[in-house]
């Protein structure tokens, strides 16, 4: 599914109140996305945003995902011009979170707090559908470190998380890439 910000709202977006309204509208759309699906927020045609808008709208969506909201479906961004992207990078970095921007070819890129996120995303793209142990093995890191990275990867919107009950009982999470060109 695609959410076109410029068509629904405005080509310039400012204030926290506007950010809150757009975020709540996006959350409403996310409720209609099936588990394992994705919502692509298109900023095509948006000329500029302020930090306040970006923080209240996108950063809070990502923070919400980190707290467990809509984690069984994907959330991605595309069509950002240089200015919007720069503001978005600043907004996400201030909150120490990341999001995924799709390029014109559909290739994903981590924006915001990057660090080890890019290599983790690359590993997740190769694995496609996986558990925490798979990621730990691929990246040669401890299971605990893999879980920490997965928490941020899920929050970024690139990966959906699903609770599964293994044959032997208990519970664990499985992860799947939900980026359109790679899903």
């Amino acid at each position: 599914m695609r959410y076109d910000v410029a068509t629904r709202w405005s080509v310039f977006l400012a204030t926290r109140e506007r950010g809150r309204r757009v975020r709540e509208d996006i959350e409403q759309e996310l409720r209609g996305v099936a588990p394992g699906g994705n919502l692509v927020i298109s900023f095509a045609g948006v000329e500029g945003i302020t930090v306040s808008f970006g923080d209240e709208c996108i950063a809070k969506l990502i923070v919400g995902r980190a707290a467990g909201d809509f984690v069984d479906r994907g959330l991605l961004m595309e069509g950002m011009n240089e200015d919007v992207r720069e503001t978005m990078e600043a907004v996400l970095a201030r909150r120490k979170v990341s999001a995924i921007a799709l390029g014109s070819s559909g290739a994903p890129e981590v924006i915001g707090e990057t660090g080890w996120m890019s290599s983790t995303l690359a590993a997740a793209l190769e694995l496609h559908s996986f558990g925490a142990a798979d990621l730990a093995g691929r990246l040669h890191i401890s299971p605990q470190a893999a879980n920490n990275r997965l928490k941020m990867l899920v929050a970024s919107g690139a990966v959906a998380r699903e609770l599964v009950v293994p044959d032997g009982g208990g519970k664990e999470f499985s992860y799947a890439i939900v980026i359109p060109a790679y899903a």
Binding site: F12, E17, S52, K60
Partner: protein
């Protein structure tokens, strides 16, 4: 029964409008006079900031007095400028203009002027950013720099919606001059930045000047919430990024001027003899080429 004497206040506007003139006039208006007479006949020099301040005074007087009489500038250029910048539009019904403002043949100046606008809603901020974009975009060498300018203007105005609690919102006006570049003003008569920041106990001890300086730092907020406190920092950084600029922010008795020329920055912090109401922002920006 005793009748209170009817009080009339006369405010004489000098050829160039000064902060102290406005402060004294506004304090007098607070006393709920019967009539306020604003005598602007001598006014000769009107910048976007002076335009916004003068209209703010008229609006403030209209909130407190039963009637307001505005005497327009005698000088044709000043009088025409007020008309061209829509100074007389949407005046409160209690305001009487003592001489009929000039009727102008209005040329399309959308690429040079942003006429006086009131900012009270989100839509006003976004419309203003769109108007500013049309003014600045042709004059910048690159679109990102033009966008930085518009982002600065957005940050300057959205604070009014998010924080100022100004009864009449904010007034904005801008003009692009050949020689000095963009001259823009944002004036509100709300709480003011120092008073807003001091609502946070961590900053309650700060003077106006200290609070205003603190508020310009990234992450400093009256709310104490994570992710907040970026707006004024965004204004400063984008103004400096967009080109050679002079940004002046006045609030309470604090006045901070941030000049940036060819990558060199200079900051001047002063305490005024008289505090001002709300927050007044003036930005002069010579686009980078």
């Amino acid at each position: 029964m005793t009748l209170k004497p009817q009080k009339t206040i006369t405010v004489s506007i000098p050829p160039r409008l000064a902060d102290t003139d406005l402060h004294d006039a506004m304090v007098e208006c607070d006393g709920a006079p019967c009539q306020v007479r604003i005598m602007a006949g001598s006014l000769q020099f009107v910048t976007p900031l002076a335009l916004c301040r003068l209209r703010a005074l008229v609006d403030h007087a209209a909130l407190h007095a039963q009637t307001v009489v505005f005497d327009p500038p005698v000088l044709t250029e000043a009088s025409n400028y007020l008309s061209r910048m829509n100074f007389y539009e949407d005046l409160d019904k209690s305001v009487e203009v003592s001489r009929t403002p000039p009727t102008l043949t209005r040329a399309d100046r959308r690429d040079r002027l942003i006429e006086l606008q009131r900012i009270q809603t989100i839509e006003h901020v976004e419309f203003f950013m769109d108007r500013a974009w049309r003014v600045v975009q042709p004059h910048f060498a690159s679109q990102p720099l033009a966008k930085a300018c518009v982002s600065a203007l957005g940050a300057a105005t959205e604070n009014v919606i998010d924080h100022a609690q100004a009864q009449s919102g904010a007034l904005v006006a801008a003009q692009l001059y050949e020689r000095i570049g963009l001259d823009l003003a944002v004036v509100d008569l709300g709480l003011g930045i120092p008073a807003t920041l001091r609502a946070n106990a961590a900053f309650s001890h700060l003077s106006d000047l200290e609070a205003l300086g603190k508020a310009l730092e990234d992450g400093v907020t009256c709310t104490g919430l994570e992710g907040r406190g970026a707006g004024l920092c965004e204004l400063v950084t984008n103004a400096q990024r967009a080109g050679n600029s002079t940004l002046v922010i006045q609030s309470g008795d604090a006045r901070i001027s941030l000049a940036s020329f060819n990558g060199q920055s200079q900051v001047s912090c002063t305490t005024a003899a008289q505090p001002i109401r709300g927050t007044w922002i003036s930005l002069r920006l010579q686009p980078s080429r």
